[in-house]
C-alpha cells in the first residue's frame, strides 16, 4: 500500500485500529520525500529522526493496546514561520537562517498533544510576504502539477508538499491569501480560519491584525480534523477568541439543501482567466444541483481591498519587523563600526527585496505627514469592506468566488512588477481585512492541466458551514482525488 497517498482520516483510522504501524507510515513518507524533494523543493528543514522517534513510541503503545491520541503517527509539514522548539525556524529569510526557537507555538503544542508528527519545515515567501514563494531566500518551490509554474504563496512549500504526497497534511499562515491561494494553485483543500479562531502565539508576526494559522490538506475532512485540533482560546494570545470550538468533522453532513450561496457581482473582473470563470460557474451549478439557492450579493468596496491591504499590512509589518536588529537573535553584520551602523547593515544584508519594499511602504504610510492620508484612510476603508460582508451575509449563508483570478503562473512572470503580484490576491485579501473564514477547494483543471481554486467564504466563526459546503461540493465532484503525475 502506498501510505503516502492516503488522507489524514484514512491514516488515522488504520493506525487507531492497529492495522498499520506509525513507524511504517513515517518511513513511507520519508521515502516519498527522498524521491520528490529534488524536483519540488518544498522543505527548508527535515526532521526525520524526531518523527521516527515519536512514531516508535506510538508503535509501542499500539503493541500494548493502549489508547492512542487521535492523530497518533499522522505526519505533517509545518510552514517555517511557526516556531518549533529546538528546530530552526527561518521564515525563509537570511536574517533568521540560524534561529532555533527556545519555545514552540501553541498550535505545535496542540498537534503534539494530539499525536501528530512533524516531518519538517516548509519553504515560503520571506516573512510570508509574497504570492509565489519566489521571495524565499533559500530555494524555489515548484508546483507539482507543472514544474515550470510557481506553487503560489506564501505557504507554497506546505501546499506543494501536500499536493505531492510528501506529507499527510500541513499548516500554513494566511495574511492576505497565503493559505488559500497556494491551496488553489496546487489543487488541495486549504482553510483560513476566522481571525481569532486559532492562537497566533509562536507564529512569527507579519501583520498582527490579519495573520491567521490554518490547515492545508488533501480533502475537506482532513482540513476539518486539523482545524479542530489547533482551534480555540489560548491565554498566551489575547487576540485568540474565547468562543467554543465545535466538532468540525460532525458538520460534514453532505446536506446543503436550502442553503443560500451568495455570488458577488464585483468578482467578475477584467483580467480574469476565462477557464477559471467557467469552472466557477460550473461549480455554482453543482451547488445548485445539491439544493443550494443562488443569491446575487454585492461587495461594493472590493476594488479598494488591495490598496487598503498594502497599507494596513505593510504598516503593521514595518513595526513587527523592527525587532530584527541583530542584537538578541538572528543575523548580525560583521561589518559594523557602531550600533546604528550595525542596525542599518544587518537589515540591509539580512532582508530580501520584497521585505525591504514593504518595510519602506509601511514606514512611509506611518510617518509624520502621511499617517492620515494613507494609514488612517486605509483603516477607514477597512471598515467599509467589513460592512460589505456584514450586509451581504444578511442575504446569504456563504459567499462563493474564485480563489484567484488565474491559475498558477510561470516563474519570474510577476517578479519585476510588485503591483501585478499583489493583484493576484485580489479575491482573498478582503477576507483577511474583514476577518472572515474562507476555504479553497479544487474545482477542476485548465486545458493545460493546472488546478483551479473555488473559494467559499463564511460568517465570522462559522467555519462549520464553509466546511460543510466545501465537503458537499467535494463529494459531488472528482477533482480532489486527482493527483499530479510526478
Amino acid at each position: 500500500m502506498e501510505l503516502h497517498r492516503l488522507t489524514i482520516h484514512e491514516l488515522r483510522d488504520l493506525i487507531q485500529k492497529g492495522e498499520v504501524s506509525p513507524v511504517r507510515v513515517v518511513q513511507d513518507f520519508l521515502i516519498r520525500i527522498g524521491q520528490m524533494e529534488d524536483q519540488i523543493q518544498a522543505f527548508n528543514t527535515l526532521t526525520p529522526r524526531m518523527a521516527v522517534g515519536f512514531a516508535k513510541k506510538f508503535e509501542e503503545m499500539q503493541g500494548r493496546r493502549e489508547k492512542l491520541p487521535p492523530l497518533a503517527g499522522v505526519p505533517l509539514a509545518i510552514k517555517d514561520v511557526i516556531c518549533t522548539k529546538g528546530v530552526a525556524t527561518t521564515c525563509s529569510s537570511r536574517i533568521l537562517e540560524n534561529y532555533v526557537p527556545p519555545f514552540s507555538a501553541t498550535v505545535m503544542a496542540r498537534l503534539n498533544a494530539a499525536g501528530a508528527l512533524m516531518l519538517g519545515k516548509t519553504n515560503m515567501d520571506e516573512f510570508a510576504m509574497g504570492s509565489s514563494t519566489e521571495n524565499s531566500a533559500f530555494k524555489k518551490t515548484r508546483n507539482p502539477w507543472n514544474l515550470g509554474c510557481v506553487p503560489g504563496g506564501s505557504s507554497g512549500g506546505s501546499a506543494a508538499a501536500v499536493a505531492a504526497d510528501m506529507c499527510a497534511g500541513a499548516l500554513g499562515s494566511d495574511t492576505g491569501g497565503s493559505i488559500r491561494q497556494p491551496g488553489g494553485f496546487c489543487g488541495i483543500a486549504a482553510l483560513k480560519p476566522t481571525y481569532g479562531r486559532v492562537s497566533r502565539y509562536g507564529l512569527v508576526a507579519f501583520a498582527s491584525s490579519l495573520d491567521q494559522i490554518g490547515p492545508l490538506a488533501k480533502d475537506v475532512r482532513d482540513a476539518a480534523i486539523l482545524l479542530k485540533v489547533i482551534a480555540g482560546h489560548d491565554p498566551l494570545d489575547s487576540t485568540s477568541a474565547n468562543v467554543p470550538v465545535p466538532d468540525y468533522e460532525a458538520a460534514l453532513t453532505g446536506e446543503i439543501k436550502g442553503l443560500r450561496v451568495g455570488i458577488p457581482s464585483e468578482y467578475s473582473i477584467p483580467g480574469m482567466d476565462p477557464e477559471v470563470e467557467s469552472a466557477i460557474h460550473q461549480a455554482i451549478r453543482v451547488l445548485e444541483g445539491l439544493g443550494a439557492a443562488q443569491e446575487n450579493v454585492s461587495l461594493p468596496h472590493t476594488d479598494y481591498a488591495v490598496a487598503t491591504y498594502y497599507l494596513v499590512a505593510t504598516a503593521e509589518a514595518s513595526s513587527n519587523l523592527e525587532r530584527y536588529d541583530g542584537v538578541k537573535y538572528g543575523y548580525r553584520t560583521p561589518r559594523a563600526e557602531h550600533l546604528i551602523d550595525m542596525y542599518m547593515k544587518t537589515r540591509r544584508e539580512g532582508f530580501g527585496p520584497e521585505v525591504k519594499r514593504r518595510i519602506m511602504l509601511g514606514t512611509y504610510a506611518l510617518s509624520a505627514g502621511y499617517y492620515d492620508a494613507y494609514y488612517l484612510k486605509a483603516l477607514k476603508v477597512r471598515t467599509l469592506i467589513r460592512q460589505d460582508f456584514t450586509e451581504a451575509f444578511k442575504r446569504c449563508d456563504v459567499i462563493v468566488t474564485p480563489t484567484s483570478p488565474t491559475p498558477a503562473f510561470k516563474f519570474g512572470e510577476k517578479m519585476d512588477d510588485p503591483l501585478q503580484m499583489y493583484l493576484s490576491d485580489i479575491f482573498t485579501i478582503s477576507g483577511n481585512l474583514a476577518g472572515v473564514p474562507g476555504i479553497s477547494v479544487n474545482c477542476g483543471f485548465t486545458k493545460s492541466g493546472l488546478p483551479i481554486g473555488l473559494q467559499v467564504i463564511g460568517k465570522p466563526f462559522d467555519e462549520e458551514t464553509i466546511l460543510r459546503v466545501a465537503h458537499a461540493y467535494e463529494q459531488a465532484t472528482p477533482w480532489h482525488r486527482e493527483r499530479p503525475r510526478l
Binding site: 481571525y195 538578541k328 538572528g330 511602504l361 514606514t363 483603516l379 477607514k380 476603508v381 499583489y422
Partner: protein, 97 residues
Amino acid sequence: MAKITRKEVEHVARLARLELTEEEKERMTAQLDSILGYIDKLDELDTSQVEPTTTVIPMVSVMREDAVRPSLKQEDALANAPDRQDVFFRVPRIIED
C-alpha cells in the same frame, strides 16, 4: 507628479534603519511611486463619516494575577545571541570616542 521623491526614500530608509545602495534607492523610488499611485484610488471614497477599523474582533484588556510563574531560562534566552558576554547581549559601541 511623482508621489515620492528619492530624498523621501532616503528619509524613510533612515527611519526604518535600512541601508540602501544607490541602485536600490533608484529602484525603490520608482516602485513605491507606482504602488502609491495605485493606492491613490482610495481617495475616490468619502470616509469623513467612517470610523477606522484597527481590529475585527472585540478587544478587551486581559488581566491576570501578578504571580511568579516559570518562564524562559536565561541560558535559553541567550542561546541565539549573535554576541554575548556573561549573561548580557553584547553590541558594538554606542558612544563615539
